[in-house]
């Protein structure tokens, strides 16, 4: 846009108002998040915005407070375990539904995705009593099962999305040339659906690491996840350590995203969903 066209305001009014709207929208969307990042570096004893000074004391506080650190470790372990189990269960299902000639494939796909539509708090409540009755009780394994149920749809959807876009010719050629099912899967299918698998793993990790409505039902000294500890902390006190904890959680998510982006690119991650 050259400087002359700025004078033709009347003509460009719709364009300008739309741009202004977009700017306002993203201030609304990102403002509250950036504020928390800023607050986490404050020097003050209380939550101050704009923050005063610059210090890492609240990050130090995070690492000195055992409840935060222990739950953070639980959260990261749980996210990784959920991603691995989610892929182990989700990939075969996605392949079978997409190209396995399963009867009622559409209905089964709907079923595989249906945990997405359940209110999480209901799932958490129902699973707690069900798993307790089965003898799993409040344990890491229970948490893992619950998180896997809710993140499975994401893995299935991303993997099926990528797999659908790959021509069956490659696999068929391999079959014609005499490769067996395992060889085809390992040498042909797996390398081609890898972007979908990594994206699915990332989604599973993000879903797991941020989950609160399910995790809080399974809270105990050994199984509290970071969001559960943060929630109970927030219910009683309001200080910048929650801002620091939020940022640490965000950094973990960004690192995950960065690794996936580095290996496979973000474009590959958003298949025609």
């Amino acid at each position: 846009m050259n400087s002359r066209s700025w004078f033709r305001l009347k003509e460009n009014a719709p364009k300008f108002s739309m741009l202004a709207y977009m700017v306002l929208f993203f201030i609304f969307l990102l403002g509250p998040i950036l504020i928390v990042v800023a607050i986490s570096f404050t020097e003050t004893e209380y939550v101050a915005f704009p923050p005063k000074g610059f210090s890492l004391r609240w990050y130090e506080r995070f690492f000195e407070y055992d409840a935060f650190v222990d739950s953070f470790i639980v959260s990261v372990e749980l996210a990784i375990a959920t991603a691995v189990l989610g892929v182990g269960l989700g990939v075969p299902a996605a392949l079978a539904v997409t190209r396995g000639h399963v009867p009622y494939a559409n209905t089964i796909m709907t079923f595989l995705l249906s945990p997405l539509s359940m209110p999480l708090i209901v799932m958490g409540f129902a699973l707690l009593f069900y798993l307790s009755a089965l003898g799993f009780g409040v344990s890491f394994l229970s948490l893992l099962i619950a998180h896997t149920v809710i993140s499975l749809p994401y893995v299935v959807r991303t993997v099926a999305g990528v797999y659908r876009g790959i021509s069956p010719d490659f696999e068929e050629s391999a079959a014609v040339l005499g490769a067996n099912r395992l060889q085809i899967f390992w040498n042909i299918t797996l390398p081609m659906i890898k972007p979908g698998i990594f994206a699915g793993m990332l989604f599973a990790m993000l879903i797991s690491i941020d989950n609160l409505p399910i995790s809080f039902f399974f809270g105990s000294a050994d199984t509290n996840t970071l969001p559960v500890v943060m929630l109970s902390y927030l219910e009683h006190q309001f200080d910048p350590s929650i801002a620091a904890a939020s940022c640490i959680q965000l950094i973990v998510a960004v690192i995950g995203l960065f690794i996936v982006e580095r290996i496979y690119g973000l474009d590959a991650m958003t298949p025609a969903s």
Binding site: A96, R99, L231, E235
Partner: protein, 290 residues
């Protein structure tokens, strides 16, 4: 393997076995379907601490006591309200993203998705700071002479609604944008050539064609709003009571599990009702993939 003309389909059927679904299906039946059925049938002994009462007592309470009728109503009303606000705020953003963003579209999508990386607690915390009695929002409104004394945004329904819209609006934008992108621009051009004004073209051509995306977004946002309690707990402060919030409180404070089970089944019924609508919507429009 012998290559035959008719053998091609057999070969492709042989690459991926339909049995690969079996274990996953079993997992979901055991750990997803059965727990919910178990909760519906109320087979597990829940009435441990609280006085023993059959679950029917609580259903009766939920649907006859005006206080609880109000809560069921508020739960649905809040979800619908938040969803409608998301449509109104999100539609222009989706429109801009698809039609006017050009080379910036990747960046805009990144900005939309980035908040999804942050935890719900982080965003709630941000709003609590903004909405504080001496926070930026009040400071601004007083500076702009809209208010003469700070308004207590926190612990009110209004801040809970803002918090929910903030969390859910990206889902709406992305659903609408994906459908807007598929609209054939020639349809709009034809309408314009035939003499329709910009506004009329939008109302008669673009908007009806984008209803599919609004429908998808509506269901996603409605379901997510329907089940959320963290925002209501930390921003609403109990001013606005909904079923998820009550389930949380029954579980953590009152420990009346039987009541919580009854409420979660009602919440589930609302979600399943919404899902049923979604299925009908998909059927009506024919199979279009996921």
């Amino acid at each position: 393997m012998i290559l035959k003309r008719s053998g091609v389909t057999t070969v492709s059927a042989g690459v991926v076995s339909p049995w690969w679904i079996a274990f996953t299906g079993l997992f979901l039946v055991v750990f997803f379907v059965l727990p919910i059925v178990n909760n519906l049938l109320n087979t597990t002994e829940l009435a441990t601490l609280a006085k023993q009462r059959p679950i029917s007592f609580y259903y009766h309470k939920l649907f006859t006591d005006p206080y609880y009728i109000r809560i069921v109503f508020d739960t649905v009303a809040l979800s619908v309200g938040v969803t409608v606000i998301c449509i109104i705020i999100g539609y222009p953003v989706a429109m801009f993203l698809v039609r006017h963003s050009g080379k910036w579209s990747g960046f805009i999508i990144f900005l939309l998705i980035a908040p999804l990386l942050t935890s719900i607690i982080m965003r709630t915390f941000g709003w609590r700071v903004l909405f504080a009695r001496r926070g930026l929002v009040n400071d601004f409104l007083i500076w702009a002479d809209i208010l003469d004394k700070p308004f207590m945004f926190l612990n009110s329904a209004s801040s809970a609604v803002v918090g929910l819209v903030h969390v859910l609006v990206p889902f709406m934008v992305l659903s609408i944008a994906s459908v807007l992108r598929s609209i054939d621009l020639q349809l709009e051009e034809s309408a314009r050539i035939l003499g329709a004004s910009r506004v009329k073209t939008f109302l008669k051509v673009t908007f009806p064609l984008s209803l599919d995306g609004i429908g998808t977004g509506f269901i996603i946002v409605f379901l997510l709003a329907n089940g959320s309690f963290v925002t209501l707990l930390l921003l609403g402060g109990g001013d606005l009571k909904t079923l998820p919030l009550l389930i949380y409180q029954q579980f953590t404070i009152s420990r009346d599990f039987q009541f919580a089970a009854a409420m979660s089944n009602v919440l589930l019924a609302i979600a399943v009702g919404c899902l049923y609508l979604q299925l009908r919507l998909i059927r009506r429009r024919g199979v279009k993939g996921s």
